[in-house]
């Protein structure tokens, strides 16, 4: 009886408290909270201006005055990274959210209904896959106009086929199971089956893919910034900073190193969090 009580308490707890019962998830969750906190508060606390050049102080090495050194215009890299954080997180998270939502819905419809609908959706995805992402973004931005949100849209469209494929194959596997038939026999609507019975059971591959995609979204966005699409200099964007830094790799490696480190850190934290979240969401992995 005591065992049952503890199981019951476990189930009734909120998602947040369940996250904190998992070591990996809780540590990475705290890191993500810190990142968000820094992104929101950080820009008000920095000493230097991120965009004003100081030509007397170009490519200075890291020191007590400039923690991460300065870039080729003499701007403090630490300041620029802090100021660039909201932008990078925003691009990464929002474009993955949009891309994943569209991709997951298309993938589930494709896998569940099969037949013509399936072929049609998947052939469209193949076309998107085959289409070079940069070209797609160029076309989109030249049609819609150059702005941050069009950049995000381009990145998210780029992510859709990957989600659609993964979700479709997982959906096909789930549809073979008898509980889907059981729901059909009970008279459940297609929408109920898709969102209540298929979706929760394919969450783990989606989460893993999403956390990985946040990384690639940040990188894609920075590539596009480098080409002059979306984010414009002197706005401190991590990818753009990395690209600028690569010209000074031999004289001043820190210019590229710290933005790269920042990207890697964010990507890693999201990835570990995704891993932990998958364990938390799976009822079978509970002790």
């Amino acid at each position: 009886m005591t065992k049952d009580k503890s199981v019951m308490n476990m189930e009734n707890r909120s998602l947040i408290s369940r996250i904190f019962s998992n070591k990996t998830a809780s540590i990475s969750f705290i890191f993500i909270l810190c990142l968000v906190f820094i992104a929101v508060i950080g820009p008000y606390l920095t000493v230097y201006d991120p965009n004003v050049p100081d030509t007397s102080n170009r490519l200075a090495s890291p020191s007590a005055k400039h923690f991460f050194g300065t870039d080729h215009h003499g701007r403090d890299i630490f300041t620029r990274i802090i100021h660039g954080m909201p932008l990078s997180l925003y691009i990464g998270v929002i474009s993955v959210l949009i891309g994943a939502t569209i991709g997951v819905v298309l993938g589930m419809i494709s896998g569940y209904y099969g037949g013509f609908i399936d072929s049609f959706i998947m052939r469209c995805m193949d076309v998107l896959f085959a289409f070079p992402g940069i070209l797609l973004a160029l076309a989109l931005v030249s049609v819609l106009g150059n702005s941050l949100h069009h950049l995000i849209l381009a990145v998210s469209i780029f992510l859709v086929p990957m989600f659609a494929r993964i979700v479709r194959s997982s959906t096909l596997a789930i549809c073979q199971l008898e509980y889907i038939d059981a729901m059909k026999v009970l008279g459940a609507s297609d929408i109920r089956i898709i969102f209540k019975h298929i979706f929760p059971n394919i969450v783990s591959p989606i989460i893993v893919q999403a956390t990985l995609s946040i990384a690639s979204a940040i990188l894609t966005a920075s590539t596009l910034s480098f080409l002059g699409l979306g984010v414009q200099p002197p706005t401190p964007e991590w990818g753009a900073m990395l690209n600028e830094g690569k010209d000074y790799m031999y004289q001043a490696p820190h210019v590229a190193f710290f933005p790269g480190l920042a990207i890697m850190f964010v990507v890693l934290v999201f990835h570990i969090f995704g891993d932990g979240l998958r364990d938390v969401l799976d009822p079978k992995s509970k002790k």
């Binding site: 199981v7 008898e178 059981a182 026999v185 009970l186 008279g187 459940a188 209540k196 059971n201 009822p283």
Partner: protein, 335 residues
């Protein structure tokens, strides 16, 4: 005569085999080929046959999980194949299915109470206020404890999961329940418990069962009437007693002689079949059983026998064999 609840009328289900770049239908797997039978209210009809003979396809087609290639299915006089999607969804309340694999027939992300409550809410059988009460009642009916309602399926044993699946089927208060191999993945003591439970529920709720199994002993225990299937067709249909005591079709003989006897020293004659089950893609000409039948003649190769009643034996004993009566009469000399 009791009321007819389910009537399967010349049902056919072919699965196309497609190939080539145009995805043209090359040939068909004739999973179910022209079968007809009726089920009366309150009775249990067993369907037996080897794996691949189309038993499960019959069940799935009756419940419209598969569209029949030809033929009709009448439930209480209504043709299910002609119902529109919405009407069919409402009609599904009347007939439920319990599946073979208890491990995959429950959504692993739902607690037992959610599973049962969802079934009730889809068909709106119980007002919201009484849902907890009803969940408890259902769990008790199938022999589970009310406190287990908080459990997830993976915390239960196979037998317990199958009980939950039964409870889910009962939740919408159906009239007909189709049981597709529901005890075959359980060990023998659990099988007996589940079968007892089904019998008890039948009395309590006046249920009708269509019980599909490959296990003859199980079918004998639970069924009032038995249908024997071979390669997509019915070869024999009779009351349980009549079928087990005086089987007429040679295939039924072979099946019955394959039942293991509990006595280790008991000697008996067995009818062993030669060869393999023919492919349902190209079933043999004439009688489908003729390549394996020890009594086959030239007629059997050419003319397909129809399922018909016999004079000698009981009225309801139907058999699809040219020599069914002769075989039954001279039974002692053959076996």
């Amino acid at each position: 005569m009791r009321k007819e609840i389910l009537k399967v009328d010349h049902l056919k289900k072919y699965f196309p085999i497609k190939s080539g770049i145009w995805n043209r239908t090359v040939t068909n797997i004739k999973a179910v080929d022209n079968i007809s039978f009726t089920v009366h209210e309150g009775e249990t009809v067993g369907i037996v046959g080897e794996s691949g003979c189309g038993k499960s396809t019959v069940a799935r087609t009756i419940l419209q999980l598969e569209q029949p290639t030809a033929g009709n299915i009448y439930f209480e006089g209504k043709n299910l194949c002609l119902l529109r999607k919405k009407e069919l969804r409402r009609k599904r309340k009347e007939m439920q299915m319990i599946f073979q694999h208890p491990h995959s027939s429950l959504n692993p992300r739902q607690r037992l109470k959610d599973i049962l409550y969802e079934a009730m809410s889809i068909q709106k059988v119980v007002p919201k206020a009484r849902k907890n009460e009803q969940v408890h009642a259902l769990l008790q009916k199938v022999g589970l404890q009310p406190h287990q309602q908080e459990r997830y399926p993976h915390e239960l044993s196979g037998g317990e999961k199958q009980r939950v699946a039964i409870a889910r089927a009962l939740a919408v208060q159906p009239k007909l329940i189709i049981c597709d191999e529901i005890v075959s993945s359980l060990d023998i003591s659990r099988q007996a418990q589940i079968l007892h439970l089904l019998k008890k529920l039948q009395q309590d709720f006046n249920l009708t069962y269509l019980f599909i199994s490959h296990d003859l002993e199980v079918v004998r225990y639970i069924s009032d009437r038995v249908i024997v299937m071979y390669v997509g067709q019915i070869v024999e249909m009779a009351t349980t007693q009549s079928l087990f005591e005086s089987p007429m079709h040679p295939y039924t003989h072979a099946l019955l002689s394959a039942i293991p006897t509990p006595h280790p020293k008991a000697k008996r004659k067995r009818l062993l079949l030669k060869g393999e089950v023919p492919s349902p893609v190209e079933p043999p000409s004439g009688c489908r059983f003729h390549p394996r039948c020890p009594f086959a003649t030239e007629t059997c190769k050419k003319v397909a026998p129809t399922l018909q009643g016999t004079k000698d034996v009981e009225q309801n004993h139907l058999v699809a064999c040219h020599y069914g009566e002769d075989i039954a009469r001279n039974r002692s000399s053959f076996f």
